[in-house]
């Protein structure tokens, strides 16, 4: 009989929230709590992954996620190699699979990948044998972001069952939105998406979420609002007339929050376009848990890395 209960995620890789079951989510959150305690110690490091090498493959720009993953890996004592598309042989025409296979030949045990193409991690998982963690694939999923959002919400609201969570803004281009919806639904929360009709895809209702085009109505309804960034880099055509018009109708500001007569929690996955989807006043207010999200991000990623690192 082991001293502790054995536990393992149901899948070998974390490609999306879609693949996780209730048990997995519970296990990730429980492990996150323990790592959060580790991160508050004078020495914030444990030797769990000391015999492991992890490659961070970032085919798309990132600040937060990349630093967060790298810190999580280092806090677990793993060896880390970083790769960014800008300075790589991709420019010379190498395929994704060739790049990754070359890196794996150098005896890498685990891959964290961000890629602009939706499904890139799923494609890779069909061809390589090591665990892969999706750090964002195009407009598809960003599972660790959804996990840290849900974990941060749970810290404030307790069990999310029956809680009302709004996701506001550019739903169409947001991998954060999709992962968040899947995660929150699995945790039993009610979800409403809100934004201009051009930025809300038709399939939304099939995910079991309600759709609203009216910011004030949504804010009145919800316990917490996750405000998403307007992803101008993914918009080849114009989805709304101007940023100013977007800010007027869908920007979360102090004025609209004051009309609610209740306090709601504000989340934002970052990076913030201050003055567009959210004003500085709201982003820096006491109701905002944006920096808690960033702090929890490292602990959540440590939990995922730890749970996927077993021999399996």
């Amino acid at each position: 009989m082991p001293t502790n209960k054995e536990a393992q995620l149901s899948s070998k890789s974390l490609l999306g929230i879609k693949d996780l079951n209730d048990q997995d989510l519970r296990l990730i959150f429980q492990t996150t709590e323990q790592f959060k305690e580790v991160l508050n110690r004078p020495i914030k490091k444990v030797p769990s992954l000391r015999d492991l090498t992890i490659a961070n493959l970032f085919f798309e720009n990132s600040t937060r996620t990349r630093i967060s993953f790298e810190l999580a890996e280092k806090r677990l004592s793993a060896d880390v190699v970083n790769f960014s598309a800008a300075s790589s042989s991709l420019k010379k025409g190498e395929t994704l699979l060739d790049t990754v296979n070359n890196i794996l030949s150098m005896k890498v045990d685990m891959v964290v990948m961000r890629h602009p193409a939706p499904g890139a991690c799923i494609f890779l998982s069909n061809h390589i044998n090591v665990p892969i963690i999706n750090a964002g694939d195009g407009t598809h999923e960003h599972p660790t972001q959804a996990l840290l959002d849900a974990f941060s919400l749970q810290e404030k609201l307790g069990d999310l069952k029956g809680k009302k969570i709004a996701i506001i803004g550019d739903i169409l281009h947001s991998r954060v939105a999709l992962s968040n919806i899947l995660c929150l639904k699995k945790l039993g929360a009610e979800v409403e998406v809100c934004g201009p009709p051009t930025l809300i895809p038709n399939y939304m209702t099939s995910l079991g979420v309600s759709v609203s085009y009216h910011l004030e109505k949504t804010l009145k309804w919800c316990d917490a609002a996750n405000v998403l960034r307007i992803q101008l880099e993914r918009q080849s055509t114009r989805y709304f007339p101007s940023l100013r018009e977007y800010a007027t109708y869908f920007g979360v500001n102090k004025h609209v929050l004051d009309t609610l007569n209740k306090e709601i929690i504000i989340l934002h996955p970052g990076p913030i376009n201050r003055g567009v989807e959210i004003t500085s006043e709201v982003a820096d207010s006491a109701n905002s848990i944006i920096l808690d999200q960033v702090e929890n991000g490292v602990a959540v990623r440590m939990a995922v890395l730890y749970l996927l690192a077993s021999k399996g």
């Binding site: 009989m1 082991p2 001293t3 502790n4 209960k5 054995e6 536990a7 393992q8 296990l27 429980q30 492990t31 709590e33 323990q34 790592f35 305690e37 580790v38 110690r41 004078p42 020495i43 490091k45 444990v46 030797p47 769990s48 015999d51 492991l52 677990l76 730890y306 749970l307 690192a309 077993s310 021999k311 399996g312």
Partner: protein, 189 residues
């Protein structure tokens, strides 16, 4: 054989409580009046033992209530990635810095010594103790993998490697006792 039909009773309720009493008195003789001393209990079952000892010691007049820290060593185990599945972590609660303190490390069973080694590594992350001693309820003398010995021992058990010693606690299973199973496979979970 006890009434469960599996496992031999090697310590009953009465001797169990006497043993805890004896350990508490030994500690009081050694560490009186418990200044600059702290208990660090290894999760999960060292915690119950350490709590009992702290409770007993604080009843004694003239003794300070010793500090008690709870340490989970899951992330420090050396068999991680050598077993099929990772282990679920328990909580750690170290509400004080152990720098310069004398630490009494507490666990239920000392067997291979690997848990103790992991605990010593983990302990270093909370400061440099001036000294560390080890207290266990059961010391299984054979099959040690590392040069680690307990300073304070409840009972010494000599058993084959395939045997299993189970300490059950009133807080957990309703009764204080220690059972010896001839084979690990026999254990009822």
């Amino acid at each position: 054989m006890n009434e469960d039909g599996a496992g031999r009773l090697i310590m009953d309720k009465e001797r169990f409580s006497l043993t805890i009493e004896r350990l508490a008195y030994t500690l009081m003789e050694e560490y009186e009046p418990f200044e600059n001393i702290c208990f660090v209990a290894i999760q999960p079952r060292g915690v119950i033992l350490a709590k009992r000892l702290v409770e007993r010691i604080s009843l004694e007049p003239g003794m300070n209530t010793p500090l008690l820290g709870i340490l989970d060593i899951t992330f420090y185990r050396d068999d991680f990635r050598r077993r099929d599945k990772p282990l679920e972590a328990n909580y750690t609660d170290m509400p004080f810095i152990i720098e310069g303190k004398r630490v009494i490390l507490v666990d239920d069973v000392l067997y291979t010594g690997r848990t103790t080694q992991a605990a010593l590594t983990a302990l270093n992350h909370f400061g440099r103790p001036s000294a560390v001693t080890l207290l266990v309820m059961v010391n299984r003398r054979f099959n040690r993998h590392l040069p680690i010995q307990s300073t304070f021992t409840g009972i010494q058990v000599d058993a084959l490697d395939k045997a299993y010693v189970q300490v059950t606690w009133e807080e957990e299973s309703g009764e204080d006792k220690i059972l010896l199973f001839a084979d690990k496979q026999e254990i009822k979970h």
